[in-house]
Amino acid sequence: MKSVIFRTVAPVLTSLMALFSIFVLLRGHNEPGGGFIGGLIAVSALAIYGMAYGVETVRRAIFFHPMAIAGAGLLAATLAGLISIFARVPFMTGLWIYPAILGLEVPLSTVLLFDAGVYLVVVGAIGSIALSLEERGGE
């Protein structure tokens, strides 16, 4: 798109949305949000950036092939389930640890890993569809 306003705003908007998407992912356990919604926000961010600067720029920016991102997400989600087997509890049982990082107690869990996997799958799969459609559909 050739609009100067759009081109100027797009990078700012995209970075804000990307940041927001991770925020939504992380707060999901206690407040509205989660991996699915976060992923959708991130895809929208990519779509906006793509509209402003073209698909190639987006592909360079995310470095990995979107489907590889989705694959990594599925792997992370599966691993999150498998970890509990090694802890001798049934598959997909949530496990929590609370390490202190910089004096702050940070709750980490397989559940969070799983949610991050969902996020990546959504970003990768839908992003890949959107990007490939944009690529050759241009005006």
Binding site: N30, E31, M67, M92, A125, I129
Partner: protein
């Protein structure tokens, strides 16, 4: 370690060996055979320890629970029958692995071959020791699949691929019949284990489902054991490398059907139906197989058809069911595995060392290949049923079964003598013709095969001799327990090399005399058989091709009809069906909702949002071009998202908002990409039809929702999640906790679907519209003929 764990390891060992085989072969070349043969040898030793216990009449069971909720176990039953089979499989298996080392020396895919044949060994071993029905079926099909891989090993050749497919279709299909039969047996008896089933008396035979179960089981057994008219896959399977023919198609896999019949003989056998089917099909297979063997001049094909005849003989004996017949079956089973395995390997050595396995191109090799000659002779003497070889004992016992003087017995005796005489002639044709007579020049310079090649057949041939010489010992340890297991009651096999005058000896002499006459006139007999077969013309082999072609045609026709490729048709059909179900079901059961209650004081802002939603829908309908319609559809979606928000579902609202945004973006992109005409081009009648379907769907869904919400809300789950979400799963957002914790396995499945859908769409998008048109149009018209060509 206890016996149970050891036995389990023995059952798993071939698969483990199959895993390391390719790597080991890359490292050691053909000498990997020496290492790999240790696996079957270890199994042989492990099971050999059970021999004294089993010989004293015990049968051992063991295993592990597999799916306890369905009463399915991974368990084994080791009695005389399965022990004999397992010893044959592992013993011959070890020799075959060695033989493959020599036979496929330097083959680029030798490692793969070892892998396949060891996997087959594991499957076959699992089949014969399986106690639970499900395990039997699983291993049964595994032998079909591994045999498919082995027959098609030389996959560059069309004939090998066809033979592999044919074997898979016939034996795999038979396996499905067997599964149905086993399910009936399970249903009637209530047990899932053979060891328990064998303790049933005549209840099964009196069940109204007996005939159905019998026919289904026979369908499985007859296809696997190549009984006429399902025999055609066996000679075609000779496309496989010779070690496969020696192992699968003489000693082991084709015996699986015979094994099954022997195993079920105590509970299903003895009825008139059993006797009729088994003895008739058995004797027909015997005579037809032996006659077809005479026609061939290719060593492997001759042996393949005699294998078919031998299998017929075994099935006939099980069908006859008299004590002598059962004992003869037990003896012949082992004797056949030994001599036929040896003869196949001899054929392989000839092929390997001379470059030909056609009788007309072989001759005078006795001085260049003396060792091979003596092995071949020993095996042929056993196959011909001459003393002092094991085959003689089997044949004597077999003829003892025909002591009755009625017409039926006389008929069977005549046909059996005929079949045996033909096999006698073929046995000596294979063992003598390549070695005697004037020297014929062969494609390769002939010389004796290496150690790896001749050690297998030599051991088997020697076994055939030593068992006969020590018959008392062998009967006590092997033959009698086997016969007892087949009969389901204690039996003692007594036959020995000591001369015993009587009818059996007369029949034996008659067989030998007739066999000699056939041998002398083999060329004339072959010509006559060929002429007869040309006159008949059509055979089951061609029938198979016709069947497959018909199947493909049918599939193409059905696919064309159901999937025409027009998206509009699919959508119309789908939504028409949805509307039908939503409206017809409540109509049928009188479940329409009562008139809904509308509160008078709806807040003004809610009314406004609803008005926006309706306005959006109106815009969709009147939109001049498609892009406007898509964006207008988004208006309605956003309005719904706001309603969710107002009613306290921020998560849902949030998601709805994002989904709506992205759908509009993606739909708009699809629109520009497909380069459709911007306006709607449907003619009026079509438009009216679509409007009707859309209205019916909307109405149906609205009524459905009203009806559902009229049912009092069950709060059990809400309370459960509210109670445990924070305390157990450490999350205050119940929706998210359900998604990523309580029902996380569901979510895992869903994101896998998302990923696969993404891949599929990506592939579709990448097909460029232009190339699509060019590529698909000719392909659609030719795929039918292309498929037929492939079959």
């Amino acid at each position: 370690m206890d016996v149970t764990a050891l036995t389990f390891m023995a059952l798993a060992l071939p698969f483990a060996a199959a895993l390391v085989a390719p790597g080991l072969t890359r490292f050691l070349g053909q000498n990997a055979a020496w290492v790999l043969a240790l696996a079957p040898a270890a199994i042989f030793l492990h099971f050999f320890r059970f021999v004294p216990e089993v010989a004293s009449g015990e049968s051992l069971t063991g295993g592990y629970a597999w799916i306890p909720s369905f009463n399915v176990s991974f368990s084994w039953l080791i009695d005389g029958l399965s022990l004999t089979f397992v010893l044959l499989i592992s013993g011959i298996g070890a020799l075959i692995v060695l033989y493959s080392g020599g036979y496929l020396k330097g083959h680029p895919q030798q490692g793969r071959f070892f892998c396949f044949i060891l996997m087959f060994m594991g499957s076959m071993q699992g089949l014969v020791v399986a106690d639970s029905f499900l395990m039997l079926f699983v291993f049964w099909e595994l032998t079909s699949i591994t045999s498919f891989l082995l027959i098609g090993f030389d996959h560059g050749r069309e004939a090998a691929r066809r033979a592999a497919l044919q074997a898979l279709v016939v034996t795999g299909g038979g396996g499905l019949l067997l599964l149905a039969g086993l399910l009936i047996l399970w249903n009637v008896s209530g047990v899932t284990q053979l060891s328990l089933l064998l303790s049933f008396g005549s209840e099964l035979k009196e069940s109204p489902f007996y005939l159905a179960a019998l026919l289904l089981v026979l369908g499985g057994a007859f296809t696997k054991s190549a009984q006429f008219p399902f025999h055609f896959w066996l000679p075609n399977a000779m496309e496989a490398p010779t070690p496969v023919s020696a192992y699968l198609h003489s000693a082991t896999m084709v015996k699986a059907g015979v094994y099954l019949l022997m195993r079920l003989n105590p509970v299903l056998g003895g009825t008139p139906e059993w006797q009729l089917f088994l003895s008739l099909f058995g004797v027909a297979t015997l005579v037809i197989g032996a006659a077809l063997a005479v026609r061939e001049s290719d060593l492997k094909l001759m042996l393949a058809y005699t294998t078919m005849a031998s299998l017929g003989l075994l099935v006939m004996l099980i069908g006859l069911g008299s004590p002598h017949a059962i004992e003869a079956a037990a003896l012949y089973l082992v004797a056949h595995a030994l001599f036929k395995g040896a003869l196949f390997m001899v054929a392989g050595i000839l092929d390997h060392e001379t470059g030909s396995r056609d009788l007309s191109h072989l001759g005078g090799l006795r001085s260049t290949m003396p060792l091979t000659f003596s092995v071949a002779l020993a095996a042929a003497l056993s196959m011909g049923g001459l003393p002092p070889f094991f085959g003689f004992l089997a044949k004597e016992e077999l003829y003892s079964a025909f002591t009755a003087t009625d017409l039926r017995s006389a008929l069977f005796a005549t046909l059996t003598v005929l079949g045996n005489a033909l096999m006698f002639a073929v046995a000596f044709a294979v063992a003598l013709k390549p070695f005697l007579g004037p020297r014929v020049s062969t494609p390769k310079h002939a010389h004796e095969g290496p150690l790896l090649l001749w050690i297998g057949p030599a051991v088997l041939a020697l076994k055939g001799l030593s068992i006969a010489l020590m018959s008392g010992f062998a009967h006590r340890l092997i033959s009698s327990p086997t016969a007892s297991a087949i009969a389901g009651e204690p039996r003692t096999v007594e036959i020995s090399l000591a001369p015993h005058l009587g009818l059996p000896l007369v029949l034996s002499a008659l067989t030998v005399a007739l066999g000699l006459a056939f041998y002398v006139n083999l060329a004339r007999l072959r010509a006559a058989m060929k002429a007869i077969l040309i006159d008949i013309g059509w055979g089951p082999d061609r029938g198979f091709d016709q069947f497959m072609r018909g199947l493909v045609r049918f599939a193409v026709a059905v696919t064309r009809r159901l999937q025409g490729g027009r998206f509009e048709v699919y959508m119309t059909a789908t939504f028409a069906l949805v509307a039908f179900i939503l409206l017809a079901v409540p109509l049928r059961y009188g479940e329409f909702p009562r008139a809904p209650f509308f509160s008078a004081d709806v807040p003004a802002h809610e009314l406004a949002i609803m008005a926006i939603a309706v306005g959006g829908l109106f815009a969709v309908v009147v939109a001049a071009d498609r892009l406007t319609a898509i964006v207008s559809l988004g208006i309605q979606g956003f309005a719904v998202a706001v309603i969710y928000l107002l009613y306290g579902a921020p998560d849902l609202s949030f998601t709805q908002l994002m989904v709506e945004t992205l759908s509009v973006v993606v739909l708009a992109l699809v629109m520009t990409r497909l380069q459709l005409s911007p306006a709607d081009h449907r003619p009026l009648p079509e438009k009216l039809r679509d409007v009707a379907i859309a209205l019916a769907c909307g109405l149906g869904f609205g009524l459905f929702l009203l009806r559902v919400t009229a049912v009092p809300f069950d709060r059990t789950l809400t309370e459960f999640f509210n109670l445990y979400s924070k305390s157990v799963a450490h999350g205050a957002n119940v929706v998210n906790v359900i998604i990523v914790d309580f029902r996380a396995t569901d979510t895992l499945g869903e994101i896998a679907v998302v990923m696969i859908t993404g891949l599929a769409i990506l592939a579709l998008v990448r097909l460029r519209a232009g190339s699509l048109k060019r590529a698909v149009a000719p392909e659609l018209s030719t795929d039918e003929s292309a498929m037929e060509e492939r079959v």
